[in-house]
Symmetry: C2
Subunit: 329 residues, 2 copies
């Protein structure tokens, strides 16, 4: 068997982290299968536009897609839960919920009618809350604020009076520069530095409440995947998990280097969101998620599963990961 | 090519987390290679004793070993840095340092003279500080305390007047019960509950300063690994990375369930170590690590690399992962 497979992605070719992660997945599969599957990667727009990856893999135009599930809420209301939800799970918890908390089974069930088999395949870790042209002193400063923030994070900002805007990454810089928008969240120091966001919006706020542990997805055209012999299925499964491990490691290593540069050399003003803003965002997030679950029975199942897992994760991590960070200072 | 490979481990067969992780690695390799390599797992003592895994793989008695690098400080003083050091890196940071911070290259260099090729293959996440028969009110309570705590964590406790003891996991329960020891650290709620430590020592202290993100290792007999064709090498690399991802997920999911049981149903007293104890432990840890680096040139290189990475990781995680935990409460 010698297969030539196409991978379509929502990222520019070799875009740091996301695009290089997709490329690495293709390379891993090609190498580990000894070329029985050769995967050719297409950056966003090369074969299909970035937001048509789901449809393209669903109909078999490409066998693999590398993207983020929260882009597909128009297809399935529950999709964002498998990428990132405001005040949801961080990277370590997302992977745990997906693999050992029933999350992946729900994700597979959601995607099956679309002829798609999803795997977790990457994570950025906690992001920044975004770059702002003016400081945020309190909740009142969010009113009327035009901010590039997609998905559920945008819904939450809207609930507090902001005006969420969805823009492709490549348009963020000029929109901030021209004043068309007042603020933008993109990813984190590593990717934001590459776009030069600090040059047009001085205030970098944290933490990234809106995307605490975004899982990237590798989705496979189900008939193509199902037709594989067991050893190739096992290879693909291992390669996706390897990239899930590796991409988070890359972001962890690169974000801290980029943060150093941004603050020490580029004069970025790194600030914590005021406590009242975080509290208001959290309350609004609960309402947005509850409304989503109320409107869609599958979203209800996923939200309940995620929320129960989050409660336990929070209890354990408050005495392990979080308590260790505090003790190490 | 049909190879029959042996994997020796330092864990009882199917011991939760560690042993099941080793078994999963063997299964992944066997499945993904379509049986070109069939891996048979031997629990501790079945082929060689737990602390002879390093030697057994070094001389080729087995082709693979699954263990923890800090057991091998007698072979190479720098070895513990590749598993866990007190107040060192957590799981996310360990993987980042190994893959993108130069750590794995140093590890390979250290193990090469022993005919070993190491890969990260599992992590427990932040552990508990341990189980104590009496409460710890301050540094004075550490003096004379007989505690099962191996490795560098034991050295640090000794610097504060405690008496560290090294015991196999299976002997911890009876030693606590008989009063032969006053305290013991093992892993975390998932594994500690299985041993019933809460029945013989009521006070569970956190956080696990001594082992914040222990990396488990898969080490390969170098001549056997080097003789593999490229596709099998790529499969092994992916399978190890997959297990690295998966084991942490398992501990994350299971620790929180076990913690719930321990506190709600078994009456375990969960307490944070007093601040002055943590400060004293941190100071002692710096001295122990500095002494280790001063006595061994390779340990100096590794310590400097890890320490520089830790400083950056700490800066970034204080505004990302840690800040998110705080905001989510």
């Amino acid at each position: 068997m010698r297969l030539q497979w196409k991978m379509v992605t929502s990222w520019p070719t070799n875009f740091p982290g996301l695009g290089t992660g997709a490329a690495k997945l293709a390379e891993r599969i090609t190498q580990a299968t000894g070329g029985r599957i050769t995967v050719k990667v297409f950056g966003s727009g090369e074969l299909v536009p970035p937001f048509e990856v789901f449809d393209a893999v669903s109909r078999g135009t490409a066998e693999i897609g590398h993207s983020a599930a929260y882009y597909w809420r128009g297809k399935a209301a529950a999709a964002p839960f498998f990428c990132a939800v405001p005040f949801g799970l961080n990277a370590q918890e997302m992977t745990a919920w997906l693999r050992f908390g029933g999350g992946l089974e729900l994700w597979r069930e959601l995607y099956a009618p679309f002829n798609l088999v999803p795997f977790p395949a990457g994570n950025t870790g906690v992001q920044l809350a975004g770059w702002f042209r003016k400081p945020i002193a309190g909740v009142a400063d969010l009113r009327g604020l035009k901010m590039r923030i997609p998905g559920l994070g945008g819904d939450v900002m809207q609930a507090l009076g902001a005006v969420p805007v969805n823009l492709p990454g490549a348009e963020i810089f000029t929109s901030l520069q021209s004043g068309a928008i007042d603020a933008a969240e993109w990813v984190g120091p590593y990717n934001d530095l590459a776009f030069g966001l600090h040059r047009v919006a001085k205030y970098a706020y944290y933490p990234g409440w809106q995307e605490p542990g975004p899982t990237l997805e590798a989705m496979f055209h189900k008939p193509a995947f199902d037709a594989l012999p067991d050893d190739l299925k096992a290879i693909i499964e291992a390669c996706c998990a390897a990239v899930n491990d590796e991409m988070l490691a890359e972001y962890t290593a690169r974000n801290q280097q980029a943060l150093d540069l941004l603050v020490r050399e580029h004069g970025a003003q790194l600030r914590r969101l005021p406590e009242d803003v975080l509290v208001a965002l959290k309350r609004a997030a609960d309402e947005v998620l509850e409304a989503l679950a109320g409107a869609d029975p599958f979203a209800r199942r996923v939200y309940d599963s995620m929320r129960a897992f989050r409660a336990q994760a929070q209890a354990w991590h408050s005495v392990s990961e979080e308590a260790f960070y505090q003790a190490r200072r």
